[in-house]
Symmetry: C2
Subunit: 345 residues, 2 copies
Amino acid sequence: MVRTGRGSGRDGRPTLEQVAARAGVGRGTVSRVINGSPRVSDRTRATVEQAIADLGYVPHRAARALAANRADAIALVIPEAEARLFAEPYFSGIIRGVTAELADTDIQLLLTLIRTPKERQRFGQYASSRRVDGVLLVSVHGDDPLPDLLTEIGMPAVMNGRRSGQESFPHVDCDNLGGAQLAVEHLLGRGRGTVATITGPLDMYAAQCRLAGYREALRAAGREADDDLVAHGDFTEESGHAAMRALLRRRPGLDAVFCASDLMAIGARRALREVGRTVPGDVALVGFDDSSMARHMDPPLTSVRQPMEGMGRAMTRALLAEIADGGPERPHLVLPTELVRRSSS
Amino acid sequence: MVRTGRGSGRDGRPTLEQVAARAGVGRGTVSRVINGSPRVSDRTRATVEQAIADLGYVPHRAARALAANRADAIALVIPEAEARLFAEPYFSGIIRGVTAELADTDIQLLLTLIRTPKERQRFGQYASSRRVDGVLLVSVHGDDPLPDLLTEIGMPAVMNGRRSGQESFPHVDCDNLGGAQLAVEHLLGRGRGTVATITGPLDMYAAQCRLAGYREALRAAGREADDDLVAHGDFTEESGHAAMRALLRRRPGLDAVFCASDLMAIGARRALREVGRTVPGDVALVGFDDSSMARHMDPPLTSVRQPMEGMGRAMTRALLAEIADGGPERPHLVLPTELVRRSSS
DNA sequence: CTGGTCTGTGGGAGCGCTCCCAGTTGTGAT
DNA sequence: ATCACAACTGGGAGCGCTCCCACAGACCAG
């Protein structure tokens, strides 16, 4: 049977064909108008746009995707291990940034949590079957096979953060080193003489950077490096508590601590309270992340804020550009961090 | 030109047709196998499944959606005003529940933030153009037109929470009343004689329920209602602080407070500290939500926990059922809450 | 006036799948 | 052996769109 040319879709919604009929033009022309092709005269364009408005026409996503071989969707992939981070301004900010940037693009955001190897594999299939046009990766670990997989199948992707100093995968990160520097300079500027630090897990690049920033700030101020002032944690509250106790044992005279995460600052605060030290009287405290907890600590915690929403936006912009241009250039962005001063320092 | 019958798709991925050829059957049969139709002999099914495995065939989502007139996707709609809630276990839990339930269904999750009336309208179009099969609504306000719109266009949907006691829209809620009761009974059980409460904004049904639970628990214990023990807040920290001060003014002798949100408990805690009352020594404190802050307060806050993940799962299950059956029954689920005891009480 | 651009435009073909209608075969009753 | 009926199966038609080829006119140089 030959194309019937009937005027509207299965659910009663108007189709391209119907718009074309109403405007008195061909399907191709309507398609061109919708896709913003320049090869349409202004007169025709106006007519078609009127018809679209009259009919309340909305393009059918699946039909479009099938014909054009694109999905008009991108995926935000989150390893479940980090889903706890949801309870942080982190994801909130990223997601807001991403959705804001997507708001007038007609591109859908797919949320994908990966919690098992099986799901990871499933996502690989997804990606290979082109059900998305691009992928946003969040909190990627050093041994995650996903980036390589995506590169291999030529799927546009951008990750948040870096796995190392010479990350070749397209990424958007924040200036961890600069933020740590800011924090320590601030402490020094408040007249603190002995500034210690509690680091994150040093197999993570972000933690390395924060430590490097601490060292750099001290060096710039002409202080000597003192390894006794460096205690190691793993970003958890408990590790912050333990590290603080170790620090107090080694250097009872310290009067300031820069913690590489707010959670560790909470642990450190508890350790200080246990030995009767006041904050900021005896010891000034600065955290990192500016999480919701920071604002509600007693006293409220000075902390280094990452531009979450900005990162979300930047990642999305970079990804869309890569999708559009086939992007030969792999974006490497590092956004500035900012010190939020509260009364703990 | 007649169908070419060529064996693989544009990006080199195998198509249904290719699977059919390899299995030596027709397209229809492969389709039936994929969609789990019973009208296929076991022998044929096995052959086809082998071919699918051999070829690594993955159905093309858009083609399927176009042909079958469904989207294989549901939307999770979040009013931007509540995006701050992202920074709470709330969304984290809901999303985890939803994705967990979706994990082996091949249905995609679309995240939709609505921040402006324009975006709301845009989402209306989305919904009407059947680009999703169903909608999950989160934190719906009494005056939100979305539920009615969805009902009108016959789009399956489930909301989280209720707008009133006789909510007719399909919903999954948690037992706010029961949770409040639990909290107050717990306080009474610890020998507290004068239990006050700080309510949420009473135009919200959840806040009404929590107040009703407070009253019910007191009544059940044979206590007289005393309106001086009820102070009103709006779920924010500042309002909790103000309410606590008012309470102390009116009933200096109170020895316990049930706060309808953790944030208000934080404010209340601050007010207590300011007048030198200890927690839980002088005044026992219980919050609601079991947010991340609760655990990190000093002392850690006893709080009523909502089954976030459970609600996410329940909503999803209900929605999928509605999509599948055309669901004449509109689910009305209320999940139990739970008291998490910490040292503030 | 002719031949060559250069815009604009129409519409055939086809994307990969599902739906459904005809077969085709196998089975049991007559 | 014959017929009715069920259980399976093949493949045409079509979902609504984009791509692209062909072609109509407008315009200009020679």
